[in-house]
């Protein structure tokens, strides 16, 4: 077992464990911190897959941007009352069983179709110059989706300002 595998299983275990802690904690601030741990572990997995640009994007944008937004809103709306309330809703058992059934289904499908789905199920060793290749694809073939994403961000920004304003 090489260093790559050890690091992968370490990051995978960390991601899954803190994800489980995230959905079960009572305090939402703790949930947010565990979600940050999951996202950082996922960033480590991206680095192992030699996606360096995506690793940096994940750390800066997800952990540094989106999660700060979450923590900020938690600070604005934090209620001490909500710590005393029951945290799971009425349909929790049915919903949990259904979600686990969905997971088991996909797991079985992956398990049985393993050899026909992935003809070369081993990952190649090297991919050259990740950031350059991503930039070439993003500003070449994916120019139109890139512009549409910028319009989406503009719309989301205006929408967030309008929603959070006291009087429209």
């Amino acid at each position: 077992m090489g260093l790559n595998s050890i690091l992968f299983y370490f990051f995978a275990g960390l991601a899954v464990a803190s994800a489980i802690l995230m959905v079960t904690r009572r305090n939402i601030v703790h949930g947010a911190v565990y979600l940050i741990t999951t996202l950082l572990a996922t960033a480590g997995v991206f680095l192992l897959l030699q996606a360096e640009f995506l690793f940096v994007t994940q750390v800066i944008l997800y952990v540094g941007g989106i999660m700060v937004l979450f923590v900020f809103v938690i600070m604005l709306v934090n209620l001490d009352v909500s710590l005393l309330q029951y945290q799971f809703n009425r349909q929790r058992f049915v919903a949990g069983v259904l979600a686990l059934a969905l997971g088991a289904q996909v797991f079985l499908a992956l398990k049985t179709g393993q050899h026909s789905l992935f003809p070369q199920a081993r990952i190649p060793e090297v991919l050259p110059k990740n950031t350059e290749a991503v930039a070439d694809a993003l500003f070449g073939r994916f120019m139109l989706p890139f512009e549409i994403a910028s319009i989406l961000l503009l719309v989301a920004m205006i929408g967030a300002v309008v929603m959070a304003k006291r009087r429209v």
Binding site: V45, A51, G103, V161
Partner: protein
């Protein structure tokens, strides 16, 4: 070397935990964070396949998904703020103003 299906299993585990969080929790902020977890699980799949085929298109799609997650978080948290100002609660069960 880690075989590609181990990445898929990691992604499946995170996805299932996210679905459980969305379906069973009552707190709206936890539900939004579980949605972020689901989007993140999809990203792992895309990057693993991108690496397997030696093609960066999957990573470009992952970047678009992160953009989407940012937009969704901004608008969703704005809605939560507006809702909290009206009802003083964060429970999804209480969001029944459109019911009659």
């Amino acid at each position: 070397m880690v075989p590609v299906d181990h990445y898929l299993w990691l992604s499946l585990a995170l996805f299932t935990i996210g679905v459980i969080g969305v379906l069973t929790r009552r707190n709206v902020i936890i539900i939004l964070m579980s949605i972020e977890l689901i989007l993140n699980a999809v990203n792992i799949n895309l990057v693993a396949f991108s690496h397997m085929f030696g093609n960066v298109d999957g990573q470009v799609f992952a970047i678009f998904i992160i953009t989407d997650a940012a937009a969704e978080a901004a608008v969703g948290l704005g809605i939560i703020l507006a809702f909290f100002r009206n009802r003083e609660t964060l429970l999804a069960d209480e969001m029944d103003m459109l019911k009659w």
